[in-house]
Every structure is written in C-alpha cells, then in structure tokens.
Amino acid sequence: MFVRLTMHKFYLAFFLLLCSFIGHAQEYFPTNGVDDPSTTSYLFEGATIQVSPEQQLTNSDIRIQNGKIIAVGELSPLQGEVVIDVTGKYIYPGFIDLDSDYGLQKSTKKNKSHIPQYETSVKGPYGWNEAVKPEVDAVQHLTIDMSKVEAYHTMGFTSVLTHHHDGIVRGTGAFVHLRKSELNKSVDRSKASAHFSFSKGSSQQQYPSSLMGVIALLRQTHYDAEWYNSISEKDHTNLSLEAWNQSKGLPWFLEVKDALDIPRAMLLSEELNQPLIIRGGNDTYQVIDQIGAQQLIIPLTVPKALDVEDPLDAMQATTAQLKHWDLSSSNAAILTQRSVPISITSNGITTSSEFFQQLQLAVKHGMSQEEALKALTTVPASWIGKTDIGELTVGFQSNFFITSQSIFEPDVEVLAVNVQDEFVQYQDFTSLNLSGSFNLNIEGTVYPLKLKSKGKKLEGYVLIEGDTFSVKGSFTNEEVNFYHSLPKNVLHRYSGKPNFKGKILDGRLQTSSGDWKVWSAVRQGDADKNSQSKDELEFVQPERPWFPNVAFGYDVRPERKDYFIDQVTIWTCDSNGKYLGDVVVRDGKIAEVGKNLAQTPDLEYINGKGMHLTPGIVDEHSHIAISRGVNEGTQASSAEVRIGDVVNPVDINIYRQLSGGVTTAQLLHGSANPIGGQSAIIKLKWGTSAETMKIGDAPGFIKFALGENVKQSNWGDYQKSRFPQTRMGVEQVYYDHFNRAKKYNEVANPAKEKGLLSFFQKDEAPTFRRDLELEALAEILDSTRFISCHSYVQSEINMLMHVADSMGFKVNTFTHILEGYKLADKLAEHGAAGSTFADWWAYKFEVNDAIPYNAAILHEQGVLTGINSDDAEMGRRLNQEAAKTVKYGSVSEEEALKMVTINPATMLHLEERIGSVTQGKDADLVLWTGHPLSVYSKVLFTMIEGVIYFSQDQHEETIVRMNQERDRIIQKMIKAKHNGAETEKVQVKNPKLYHCDTDEDEGH
C-alpha cells in the first residue's frame, strides 16, 4: 500500500511544514516532544532526469530516502512510500558554487586613520601581517541565511563552498549544503579548502600597498611556513604559519581581479608547487592563450550595454569596453572550446531569471549544454574531492532541483529544491503551462491564437481578419480568462476553463455590446518555442578577441619577416658611425650592415631612400605597463617585490611608445623608499603576453632612491613616522640592510651550493629561512643584481657610492641624477652611469639646481650617459629629448642619439644584444622620415626582432578597422537598448600613469 498524495495536499504537507520531510535533528540531540523518526522513502515520478551531464533519462523516476538517492530509472511505488507526481518536469542535480560567502558576515574596514599603521593590530600569536590570516576558519562563524538559501535555490544551487572574502590569505572554507534548518547537517565538510586573493581587503596595515607587494607577501609567507614547519624546536609560536601548513593538503583557491592576474597566479602556483584553482572574472578569454589547463571558476555576469546613441557619448566608450561587452557572453564558450576546465559561480548574479538567461546566453555562444552542466555539478564536486554529489546516481546525496522545463529553455523556473532530507517547494508543480498556439473557435469561425503563460499570467495575440490584437489575461488550474480589443473600441472578454491539462480551453465570451458567445481553443503545438529558438537560441559564433583586446589591438598578430632595407642613412650607434648603406634582417637579427649589400629575393624589400634608420630606442627609466601600483613604499626596503610580477601587456602606452620608436624599456619600481623593488626589462612586443615581453635572460636590476621621496618630504603631515625622515637616516638604512644581507649570504650561500633553495624538493631539512628581501640585496653584494638609483642631490649620491665601495660593489646607474654635473668626476671614478632628464627641473626643492646641461657635462667627464623618460607622454619623444643635449651643451648629434640607444642598453648590460645597428644584434630598428633628432621627423616603422609592431601604414589601417568594429558593436548596443536591455551611461576607465612619485595604495 502506498500513499499517492494529491498535489494540493502534498503542497500543504511539505511547503508549510517548514519545508522539511522529516524535520528532526541529530538523533543524540534532545527532543522536545515525541520522537519523529522517519525511514519513509519518496518517489518523484515521471520526470526528465538529468542523471549526469552526459546522461538524461526521459519519463523516469527517482527514489530518495534519508537524504540519499536510492534508485533512479523506471520505478514502481513501494509500500509506505510517498509518491510525488512530477510528470513533464525536469530534475537536475543541484548546482555547486565554489565561490560563496554564504552564512558569513562581511568584513568592514575600520575607520580610516590618517596615521599610517605599520604593524598588525590583531591580538594573539599570529603572523606579522593583518591581511594574511590562514587561521580564519569560516565554519566557526557560519549561520543559516534564509534569504540567501532561497536566492541560491531558485538558481538551482544546493551546495556552496563558503569562505571569508577578506584578505590576501583568507583561511579555510566550509562546504555547505543549502538547508533552511539544521546547521549541523548543512555542514558537509569544515576546513574543506584554503582561500587566497590578490586583494588586501579590510586590513589597515600599510604593507602591502601594491599588487607586486601582495604577490611578494604570498611568496614570502610560503617560505616562512616551510621553514617554520621544518624547525623541530621552535623558539616562538606563529599560529598563522601553523594554519598555513595545515591547509597544505586542501584544495587552494585564489581570487584574482582581472584576466591579467591569471598568468600571474599560475606563475605563483608553479613557484609554490601548489595547484591553485583560480577565481577569475568574465574577461578570462582575454588570456586564453596562456591558460592551458588551469582550473578556473568563472561567473556568468556580463556588463551592461552602454548608452551610446549620442555619437559624442559613444566616443567616450573605450574600444576595450566595447569589445569586452561584445565578448563577455562568449567567455565560458571560449574557455570550454579550448578545454579549459571551468566551474561556474553564481556570484554577481542575484536573480534566478538572470542566472538562467546568462547560462542560456553562454550556450547560445557555443558552450555545450553538457559542458555547462559539468561546470555546475561534477567539476566543482571533483575539485573539492566530493564523490557523492553532482550527479543523480544511486548512493549520492539527494540534492536536486525541479524545473518546469529544460534549464536551457527561456523562462525556465525552479519549482522545488531538495537538499538532503529537506524539501522546499517554490511553486505549485501542477501549474498548467498554457504557452502554445491554439485554434480559437468562436461560434464556428476559427482564428489563430498564440498564448504565453508565465506564473499565473497570460499574454499573446490573436489574428482576426489579417490584423493582430494583443491578448492579456490570467489563469489558474481551474479557470482561464483573457481579453483583447477589436477596432471601434470593441473589447472581447473571455471566461472559461482549461481541460486535459490545458490542451483544450473553452467557455463564453462577452462582447462590448453585452452579447455572450461560446468559444473554445484547441492547442495545436508549441509554436512559441519554435519562434523563440529562431530568435534567441540561434548559435552565435563568438567574435574573436584582439591582441590585446583594446584599442589598437591586432586582429592578426604581426609576423617576423626577413628584410632588405635599401639605401638608408644608418645611425649605427656603434664605431661605424653614420653612413648611407643597407641593412639585412634575418630571423629577427641584424644579419648584415654595410654598403651595397646583396639583395636576395627571399628578403622583403624596404626602400630607405631619404630615410634614416636607427637602433630601437631604449628607455632606462619607464613606469608604463605596470598593473596596480608602481611603489611598495610602505617599508624602507621592499627589495622583495618585483615589477616582473605585474607587467601589464595591454597598456595602450606600449603602443604609443612604439609609435615613437621605443623598443626596450626598463620598468622600474617607484622612488618611495630607499630600497625599492626589482625591475622588469621588456621589449614592447604589443599584442603578446607579459612573459613574452620580458627579456628573459636580462640581468636583474633593482630600484634605489634618495632624497625627498624616500624621506617622505612631500607626503603630507601624517607621514612622519617611517624611518628615515632625513638624508642622514637614508644612509643608515643602506648600511643596515647590506649588513643583514651579508650575514644572510653566510647561511644562504652554502645552502644554495647544495641546491637547497626550495625545500620541498629535498628531504634534507632547510638550514635557514629563505628571505626574498635579503636575497635580492645579497645579489647586489654578489654583483649579480644591479642598482638603478633615483637621485638628485650630489651629497647623497656621493654617500651611496661610499656605501657601495665599502660593501664591495658598484652603483650601476644613477637615474635622474640631476646634480650629477656637480660630481661627474666622482661618478666617472666610481664607474656609475647617469640616466637623466633633458630639461626637467623646478618640481621639487631638490631639483632647484637641475640644469639642462647636465647630460653634456656627464658625457664630457666620461660618465656613461643616457636620457630617459619616467613619463608615458615623453617616452614617445625620447629622440627629441636627446636632441636637447645638442642644444644645451653642444653634444654631437651621434653622441646625442647614443644617449637613448646604446648607452642605456649598456647600462642595462644588454649592449651585446641591443642598442646599435650592428651585425648579430637583435633587429630592433626604427625607420624615420628624416633626421632622427629633429622635431619634424616621424617614425615610419618600429621593428622588434624582425617583427614590425608599428608602422604608419598599419596604424592607418588599424584606425579604419577599429572604427568599423566600434561601429558594429555600437549598433549592437543600440539595438540591445531598443530591445529593452538595461543600459548604463558611458564610464571610462581612467588609465593610471605612473611616475616615480606615484605612491598610492592599490593593494585593495
């Protein structure tokens, strides 16, 4: 004997009874009242069951008991079983969201004080940095959040991995089933995962203020934890490091801010020898070439269309914004088509309809339904090592949701959700679906009628004598009524009932004159669906991202070619001087330079008559192409941070500087502290990745700084507490740090010789704590890392040379060095180079004695002299800045050009490779319309290693292509707006231009 509940009764029994089949707690918990044991099984009958992403059963049944799936297939009801009729409905395994802060309180920032906080304010024996809190354990703060449960349920989610979204190291997460009662049952696994991010969060501590600081902090914490783990007799307790070490076996998740962070996170993962699941955004397609098989969590969010009807507004929308709007719906598709393993998070989406719309949009753009289901069920389950959820297979937990139709059809709604032994019904299952096409028969005359039902509402239209009239109405399972107008103020009002599950409707209608007529409507089919699938479900080929996906990105990356440059005035910048000749480029190198060279047919011919050819310009001092912070000026020394971790390959200024002939740039840390961070030396290979741009085997450099910036002279009255505040203090910072570095080398060098730098690879216990800061400083002592020191005033320049002499190394380069002319003799004697501005001065007190003749004097006194930019704008005109040394101090033209080519190349220890038009060097060449030092000359092309990354012709073509693409997307946006899409006013990302002095907290 089994009980077949009527739907209505079932609804009452389970929806009103706080949505639970059983409603009792753990058996060992005290009971108030009589015990309510249940071993009843439940049978859901007649549904389309998505057993797994690959397998769908139609007209099948599923049996559950005590929160588990007992059977799936064609089943007969058992005795004593509750049967639930879900005929025609769909049942899906509950979705799993791995990026949630469900049930946890958000961290808020304390009141911002103007006084900088240098030390942690956390109580207890934890680590030194407030943003590193591996000890935080989400499960200990977990509560049930009813409204969130409902929000998740109606999007199909039954389980989440929840963690505190605050800090760089965020602690452990809890894997939780979304129940409305019984928190103890909710928690499937505490300490299920460990969480990390590239954002500082609510910490008020100064360090880190930059992205590179964040990355350095993660690396250092890793080495600290390794060391802490290895010491047998600890002389102190650090609960943070203990927690870090305990999280080692768990899956690690890292949240990034944008697509460019993904390759950064992947490099970190490699260094830490620790797989990371990366939580990305809807822009991950932008780094598709670099992702490989990296596990990614992505949202389904898409940006709103922009309000671009007014062409003057549309102009403000960046190409990057437009392209991203166009491509973000294809994000999931692009990833899955390249077999990137993804898991989908609902994060960023709040309503059920939006979630399913975006899911369908992703499918429409080319993600298969199977991939979509995997990304929501089996993939996230496997990533956290769960083998009993994600499918509707016998023995699995009974987590599923029931929908009115396939989740890939428009207007799908979640009707009910089952989580373990808790059942929540959101809509009456039995609601009829009246959507479809009908033949409306009014007293013998037939009219076509199309209806669409949503909830209890009806709308549609009727075709009468060639005209369509819109229909509106409402219905229940027992009644249906609707109305439509006719010409001459006539209104027909229909009242009736549905029969045979809505296949036939009949009743009476009243006309405006008060007459009653009999009507009936017989369902003909799902006409609606067909028309919809044409309009909305049509597969859309995703547009291709550009390289990079911003203004002036390439649609096809330029290729390396071999060239013959004929009859051009060559400024060799080597001992051959300037002459009229030819240049052959092969395999990215300068193959031959000389007069009357043989031209072979395999070489692309470039007529250089009347033109000038120079080496690519080398900028010793640049701050372009850096993501989120150029300074980690929160400590007197930040030698551990690396610009190389945060190179931004999509900065438009790369392209702009190419157009000014720059091919190589040293991206320097800022000048906020005496010992800054490590540089990156890049070639401006627009359209490639950060790693491709970096000159891999370039020697290491580090930024030092002197003067007003490092003593915080112009930072305001609150910034008076960090040592040093005087030039006297600056000297002591150096002695202190180099002394420590020396001591470090005493332990580190023997270990290094044994190959003990990464302890995980060796069984032998580490003998010392790897310190990234001291390691960089020790490299300076070993002359394997070189200093480029921001400097103005002669006294302190002299001081640093004394420090260097006493420590046995040389200061490689003084950059800016505006008072260099006052001690050019000493610089020459020490062997330091000077990289200066042509004519800057008067911006600070310490540059009051700066003179534009500086370069000329330095050069005359035998100092290797360069002219640098430190400025994104001026970087495009470095040839003109070099020309100023001719004006101020009568430097010869050839020597002037060397100040932006071979001289800075030599400072960077790359003179064997770049900086002159010399056989065997990299083919980094610039062709100019005229004399390269003249204000009237323009760049015709800029070549790096045989690839023309910029040319005038290409530039003109790109403008046409870009405008066409903009127009296409703008039209699409306007169409979207007219089709009812929500739009927003144009907002422009304000590109950040860095100088040495830029000191802003961007670690958040």
Partner: protein, 421 residues
C-alpha cells in the same frame, strides 16, 4: 655672482637698432627673407626687404648683420602660472590658487614674481611674453599679460587684467578617490554646476548694467569688463559637449570675447565655435591622446585640423605637469604641429600673431609689423626645432635683454670645476 636672475632692462631707454638680413617670420603666416628691420624707441619702425631699400645706417646705435639666422616675434606663453609658482612641491612658493569657487576678483598681476629663477630659462628660448593666469575653482581669477622682463610687476605689465578665467563644469569626472582612481564617470553634477554658472553670470550682468551700484561687490565688480569693456572670458574645457555649452553661454549673455582654453575636441564642433567667433588656445600638443582609441598622433595633428576649419587658435603649453619650467618648450609644440601638417609660418603664427589676437594685444605685439612693439628675437637656427633653437639676441619693447640664466651660470661654474673651456 652665483645663479642670479639677470638684471631687467625696463628702466632703460631703448636703443635704435637696425637688423639687416636673415629670415623674418612675421607671425601672421608670412615670411620675408633678407629683410631690414628698424627698431626705434621700442617700436618696429619698419620692416622691408633689404634689396632695393635705402637705409640710413647712421640713425642707429646698433646694426645687426645677419645671414641665415631667423627672426621671430617674441613667442607668447598663454594660460601660464609663470611667476606665480616657483617649486611645485614647496607650498610657500605657490601663489596661483586661492580659496573659493568664484574668484574673478583675484588677479595675477600683483603676485607676479619678477625674481623667479624660472623666467630667464624660458625667455632664453624665445618666449618673451606670458599670460599669467590663476588656477582653481569655477572662476579662478583675472589674468594679465606680462613681459618677461621687469624690476617689478608694474613695469612688467603688458596688458593688465585682460581676461577672466572660467573652468567649465566638466562632462566627465574621475570617480573614486586617490587610491582607486578607476573610473571616469559622467559628471552628474555638471548640470547643476552649469546652472550655478548661469546664475552667477545673470547677477554679474545685472551688476554691470548698473552704472553706480549702491554696494561694492568685489566679485561682481571684477566681472564688469567681461560684459562692458571687452575683457576676454577664457573658458577652460576640452570635450565637444562642453564646447557646445560654452557657445550657448556666449550667445545667452551676448559676450563679446570668449576664448576656449584646452579645446581638444574643438575640431569636432567647428561650426559651433565659428558661428560664435570663439577662438581656441589649444592645449599642450605634447600630451597623450584624451582617449585610448584616438590616433596616437591626434594631439599633434589637431593644430593642422583647426587651421583647416578656420577657427582662430594658438598653441598653449598650458596647465599640467611642470608647466612653468615647460614653457621653454613652447616653440617645440609649434615644431610638432609642422611635422603633422601645419605650415611653418602658420605654426609660428600659432605662438605669436594668433596668440596676441586671443589675448587682445595684437595691436601692440605678436607680429613683425610696422608700429608693433619691438618684442622679438633672433635665433641662429630654426627656433621650432630643439636641435637648432639657439636664441642669440632678444628684445623686449626695444631693449636687448640679458639671455643669461641661473642654469647657464651653474653650467659655467661646473665647467670651471672640471677645467673645461
């Protein structure tokens, strides 16, 4: 005698000077080669071709014989805080931005520091006049044109209180705060701010119409010239919609002289500006494009585009990074404009004759024409190209100024240290 600012000449009686030969760039779009220029009593007595002219050399104290040298009217810096700021990072040396949103009564002339160490380095590149301009607020204050020579502000004056400066409410403002500048947003306060500007102008117009107001209102009083006396209203703005709004303001209040300062988008709405005879001081051409998709060289090309539209414009080094010291690079903005399509003589006009018109001083200076003040200089090479700009002689109202500057002094001093030359 270390790093002194050179001695002014404004108390001297100008000598009579005859310049023979050389290439004269008139400053109005024309050029004359092999000229004779007579400077008498501080004015240009005549300029004519040497060939076929009979000139009595005995009338002159000095005769300068040139060959291939170039003669230019003194270049004019516009929209500058020169003399109002010395060292950007030292607050005590900054005198260009006062408290308050509507400050037309604040005037630059009296704060102009003739002892600035920067000024001599600027004029030794050919910049001999400057519009000294306050900054900040909605109405920053009143500018004056100064000669870059003088014992004190009074004798340095070229044109006192010649313009009032209005910063037009921007259509877009940077969102966020200093730590996260992130997003440039449409300025939702711009409409309100524009309303406030209109209200202020209505009050000022009424006040100006009253010949004998009962109560002195310093703010409104300082606006009278804009309505009655041909004082120029300089409105600082760059984007097309803002420029359109400014043209509306001019129409609404029947303002006689309005000049846009900035004007990056002026080429997009030329008919609007021409219709209202609004000129443009085009912002520093050596700037990055306003928008990432603007062609990289658009800022360089805009002068040529403006020339084609017929809008009266000049080139402005203007506000921005290190603006005062950068004024010495003004000639090279013109050089860049030549590289990107402007004719050479039009480029010279864009830092001389056109500029004088936009400052309302074209009757006095700006071109090498009879009757104009003898404010001009000679460069041994092309002064618009950094590799050849070498000013050898410069006159301000007929007096040859000392082209020395503190930087040259330091140069010589340290050459001495190394025993060179």
């Amino acid at each position: 005698m270390w790093a002194q600012v050179p001695t002014p000449t404004t108390d001297q009686t100008p000598k009579n000077v005859l310049i023979l030969g050389g290439i004269a760039h008139i400053g109005n779009g024309d050029k004359m080669e092999n000229v004779a220029i007579s400077l008498k009593n501080g004015y240009i007595d005549f300029i004519k071709y040497q060939m076929g002219s009979r000139i009595d050399r005995s009338q002159y104290d000095t005769v300068i014989q040139l060959e291939k040298e170039h003669i230019y009217p003194g270049f004019i810096a516009t929209n500058s805080t020169i003399g109002l700021r010395e060292i950007d990072a030292v607050r005590a040396t900054l005198d260009y931005d006062d408290v308050g949103e509507y400050n037309p009564h604040v005037r630059s002339a009296i704060a102009y520091n003739t002892e600035s160490r920067i000024t001599p380095t600027v004029r030794s590149n050919g910049i001999l006049l400057a519009q000294v301009t306050p900054r900040g607020g909605v109405i920053s204050g009143t500018s004056s044109v100064m000669k870059l020579d003088g014992w004190n502000w009074e004798d340095a004056l070229q044109a006192e209180n010649q313009g009032v400066h209005l910063n037009w409410p921007p259509q877009y403002t940077g969102g966020g705060w200093w730590a996260e500048p992130g997003v440039l947003k449409e300025n939702d306060k711009s409409e309100d701010k524009i309303k406030q500007v209109y209200e202020f102008f209505r009050e000022a117009q009424a006040y100006a119409a009253d010949t004998a107001p009962n109560t002195m209102n310093l703010r409104l009083h300082a606006m009278r010239g804009v309505f009655n006396e041909g004082q120029i209203l300089y409105v600082h703005a760059n984007r097309a919609k803002e420029l359109r709004q400014i043209a509306q303001l001019k129409k609404e209040f029947h303002l006689q002289n309005v000049v846009i300062v900035g004007g990056y988008d002026a080429y997009l709405v030329p008919e609007v500006l021409k219709d209202q005879s609004i000129g443009v001081m085009y912002r520093r051409a050596h700037s990055l494009p306003l928008r990432p998709e603007d062609p990289v060289d658009l800022p360089y090309r805009i002068p040529a585009i403006l020339q084609d539209t017929g809008i009266l414009f000049c080139l402005d080094m203007g506000s921005g990074d290190m603006e005062v010291m950068n004024q010495r690079n003004l000639p090279f903005l013109a050089g860049t404009a030549v590289a990107y399509g402007l004719t050479y003589e039009d480029a010279v006009a864009a830092i001389t004759g056109n500029t004088a018109k936009l400052l309302g001083i074209d009757d006095e200076v700006g071109t090498l024409e009879n009757g104009k003040e003898a404010t001009l200089f000679i460069s041994s090479g092309d002064a618009l190209d950094m590799k050849s700009n070498q000013v050898i002689i410069a006159f301000i109202k007929g007096n040859a100024i000392d082209l020395n500057d503190p930087q040259k002094e330091l140069y010589r001093k340290y050459q001495g240290k190394y025993g060179a030359r």
